[in-house]
């Protein structure tokens, strides 16, 4: 497989950017084969093997977190707004939306859409669906994300959302996979219900095993949901997943091991889709703890990592180098003008001397729970850092309990560890989640006054040019003063059977065509 390098072309995601600007990076470098271009047709059963899912998965949208529940959700639910394959916003349950000042938002609800139960989708249902993630007793993981919403109310067939401060990106937040539109009852949704207004009706499901869905005959979209039936199977073992694809038990699998791609292609039964997105792997450093509180040390470490080698070895070439930038090539304001940090031991030594040190001893805590290959990445980092006079001890910690005992340095003994991010459609979403001062998931406990100022200002800035400049500067700050080393963007690598047709362009927003493979793809 040849290496896929991402061209420096930002994805446009906005209706206001006209015409040809909507041609995007992802579509240009997808491998196309014969099956991909045939016309759409109805029918068939689409079976998907997913390397996630467990008996403890929940139907409660506030607790969703893995690809299995995400895909299952995309099959049965609709959202207010959809992120199209090209990154642009598409109206879904919200027919249109508008704001005067960025604080008050009006969403007009599409009429004539019904839930699987037959009930009409109303503005009250939308309010209940959003409110499930707000308020004191909410256990939703996106509660912090929607914390800026002060009021949601229904007014006829519109929903009015009021924010505490202007935010031009609110429509993007409404595309979050945690916020499907579900039927409300007395202002609340039933989180244990499978009822939705999406393209497929749940026939049966068993968490961690499989689910089956049948096409919704009343689905309001005429050019979607091509399959008659969807079967989602949880197959955790990578070899079992690959076998299932080769023997025709499933049509699509995720997380294809780079080492097996050549063998799979040789079989001629499936094609590989390698989709560059904003997802990235990184190594956060607790900026409150010595020695990471010194930016010179952080820079020394950033120059002591061999990014190219990591993309080659850890990702098998299915990815791109990152300049310690959580904003990816699929983002609108992706900064490509910054000086690219390369592996440079002399420069790393220079920053060590700036910090008043000849050598440095650090320990990095890694587990493959952070990302597949994290342990190897830690070892590679340790090797390349040695040349810069940095003695890096790789502390291999258990996968079990990684997110509660290691990540975010809860015990004070893991200031330097590994992490992954799925990437976000908008810059603000990513920055607010993990880089704003005091954010719950600010994994490096980093705080930069100028950055925080810009973050708030950019949110409500309506001048496109000024907004771009602000986001450019923020990326510069995070890259050169931030406390997270981000060596690479990882592609979404999936394998799809030849009999499945896929669109020309596949979404870079999330895995599985933004989870929408179930309704966008077809039996060729």
């Amino acid at each position: 497989m040849t290496k896929l390098r991402i061209p420096a072309m930002p994805l446009s995601r906005r209706g206001v950017l006209k015409g040809a600007a909507a041609v995007t990076a992802a579509g240009l470098i997808l491998p196309h084969t014969a099956g991909a271009a045939r016309a759409q047709s109805r029918g068939g059963t689409f079976r998907v093997g997913i390397g996630h899912g467990s008996t403890t998965d929940s139907l409660d949208p506030g607790l969703w977190e893995n690809l299995y529940v995400q895909t299952f959700a995309a099959a049965r639910h609709n959202y207010l707004i959809e992120v199209g394959a090209d990154g642009q916003l598409l109206p879904e349950i919200a027919e249109s939306w508008d704001t005067d000042d960025g604080t008050n938002w009006v969403f007009t609800i599409r009429q004539g859409v019904t839930f699987h139960s037959g009930k009409d989708v109303t503005a009250e249902d939308v309010v209940a669906s959003i409110n499930h993630h707000r308020g004191e007793d909410s256990t939703s993981v996106v509660k912090p994300l929607l914390a800026a919403i002060t009021d949601v109310r229904a007014d006829g067939n519109t929903v009015i959302v009021t924010l505490e401060a202007p935010n031009a990106d609110l429509p993007y937040l409404m595309t979050d996979y945690h916020v499907p539109i579900m039927p409300g009852m007395d202002g609340r949704i039933d989180p244990a219900s499978t009822d939705g207004c999406g393209g497929y009706i749940v026939e049966s499901f068993e968490h961690g095993v499989q689910s089956t869905l049948n096409r919704n005959p009343n689905y309001w979209k005429s050019d979607r949901a091509w399959f008659d039936r969807i079967e989602l199977v949880s197959i955790l073992d990578p070899a079992a997943r690959l076998n299932a694809l080769i023997t025709g038990e499933v049509h699509l699998i995720d997380q294809v091991d780079p080492a097996t791609i050549g063998m799979l292609e040789g079989r001629g039964v499936a094609r590989i889709l390698s989709i560059p997105g904003n997802a990235h792997y990184g190594f956060p450093m607790d900026s409150r703890a010595a020695p990471y509180n010194d930016n010179n040390i952080r820079l020394a470490l950033k120059y002591a990592i061999d990014r190219e080698a990591m993309v080659d070895v850890i990702l098998g070439g299915h990815g791109a180098v990152s300049n310690d930038n959580p904003i990816g090539p699929a983002n609108r304001y992706f900064n490509t003008e910054m000086e690219m940090k390369t592996y440079d031991p002399d420069r790393a030594r220079f920053y060590l001397r700036e910090a008043g040190l000849d050598s440095l001893d650090v320990t990095i805590a890694v587990a493959d729970a952070a990302f597949s290959g994290a342990v190897d990445a830690g070892a590679m980092f340790s090797e390349t850092a040695r040349a810069a006079g940095i003695n890096m001890t790789v502390n291999r910690v258990p996968n079990d309990g990684y997110w509660s005992n290691v990540w975010l340095n809860p015990n004070g003994d893991t200031p330097f560890c590994a992490t992954y991010w799925g990437g976000r459609a908008v810059e603000d979403h990513m920055f607010t989640t993990a880089y704003a001062a005091g954010a719950d998931w600010n994994e490096s406990f980093w705080s930069n006054d100028r950055f925080n100022e810009l973050l708030v200002a950019a949110r409500s800035e309506v001048n496109e040019e000024l907004r771009r400049e602000m986001y450019m500067e923020m990326q510069q700050i995070v890259s050169f003063e931030g406390s997270t080393i981000i060596p690479m963007y990882n592609n979404y690598v999936m394998a799809v059977a030849n009999e499945i047709g896929t669109p020309e362009q596949i979404s870079a927003n999330w895995n599985f065509d933004g989870f929408r493979c179930v309704e966008r793809w077809w039996m060729a």
């Binding site: 008996t55 403890t56 929940s58 509660k143 079992a240 509660s404 005992n405």
Partner: protein, 311 residues
């Protein structure tokens, strides 16, 4: 005699229940943390813990759990709110089905092979059977499984994964589950076969067998009529042990063939801190082990007149 055995078994089960409860207390992290994962904040954690009743002291939770379990009610899964008995029901059925399927292949094969190997001791057949069985048991299960997938699934003869749903017929089920059952058969046969062979060979040196031989009986009749009944006790024991293994120890095979059995449920539950499910499954496993060993004891007592009619 038998009553005492049963009473001991129940007492043992009670002690095991205490250990199970204690051990799950020692796991790092708790369910609320695991459920929210990367998304946990102190605030949402506290709310979820309160909802799940994780704040009660341990003895209270133990008592609630044990009294429920005795009436067949294991409570609800902490993570998705479904009744555990419902969650376990189908899985237990799958696990027992696979165990019986594998046993119905493995037990006759190993008994026949064992008896024949004893009968033709040191012959080519004996050596070949031993070598084959030992080879199969020496490979890790997943390796045996992958080899079978390569030979029998990728060639299209059998499916590489098991997809059971409520409408699956018994015949389909037998067909779909053949590879996992065969894998398990290969893994357990050596143990049972060699025990059968050894027990019979051991008896073949006894005076009463010598007598039978001098009487002019055929070798097959000597083995089946005179040796096997006296060799039953160790054979029953090793079969029970392997049955228990087939119920409790097949998680690797379940993973490879995507078989929804109890083992995978347990692994899932452990990694997700669904303590209620872990406890329930562990208790079922312990009960299966104790019950099968109990059964083996009882059966070997029955087959041995000296134990049945002790003076």
């Amino acid at each position: 005699m038998i009553a005492l055995r049963v009473a001991l078994g129940i007492g043992l089960l009670f002690i095991v229940s205490l250990i199970i409860f204690g051990a799950t207390e020692l796991l790092p992290g708790d369910l609320a943390q695991q459920l929210l994962g990367q998304g946990a904040t102190p605030e949402t954690l506290a709310a979820l813990r309160e909802q799940l009743g994780l704040n009660d002291p341990a003895p209270v939770r133990y008592w609630n759990w044990l009294s429920g379990a005795l009436t067949g009610d294991f409570g609800v899964s902490l993570s998705n709110g479904r009744p555990i008995s419902e969650l376990i029901g189908a899985r237990l059925g799958n696990t027992v089905f696979l165990a019986l399927y594998a046993a119905s292949l493995a037990v006759p094969i190993s008994l026949v092979l064992g008896i024949l190997a004893a009968l033709w001791r040191n012959s080519i057949f004996d050596r070949a059977a031993n070598a084959g069985a030992l080879t199969a048991i020496s490979f890790p299960e997943f390796f045996v499984a992958y080899i079978l997938v390569l030979w029998l699934a990728q060639t299209g003869i059998f499916p590489s994964m098991v997809r059971i749903n409520p409408t699956t017929t018994f015949g389909d089920r037998i067909y779909m589950t053949f590879l996992p059952a065969l894998t398990l058969t290969l893994v357990v046969t050596a143990h049972m076969m060699r025990m059968t062979r050894a027990a019979i060979i051991n008896l073949m040196a006894s005076p009463y067998i010598e007598m039978a031989r001098l009487k002019g009986l055929s070798p097959l009749r000597i083995v089946l009529r005179h040796a096997v009944p006296n060799a039953l006790a160790p054979i029953i024991n090793v079969i029970a042990l392997n049955l228990a293994y087939l119920i409790t120890g097949v998680v690797v095979v379940e993973v490879v063939f995507v078989y929804p059995g109890l083992g995978q449920l347990m692994v899932d539950a452990v990694s997700n801190r669904d303590i209620a499910v872990v406890q329930a499954v562990a208790l079922i496993f312990a009960a299966a082990y104790i019950a099968l060993n109990l059964l083996a004891d009882v059966l070997s007592t029955i087959t041995n007149p000296r134990l049945m009619h002790r003076r």
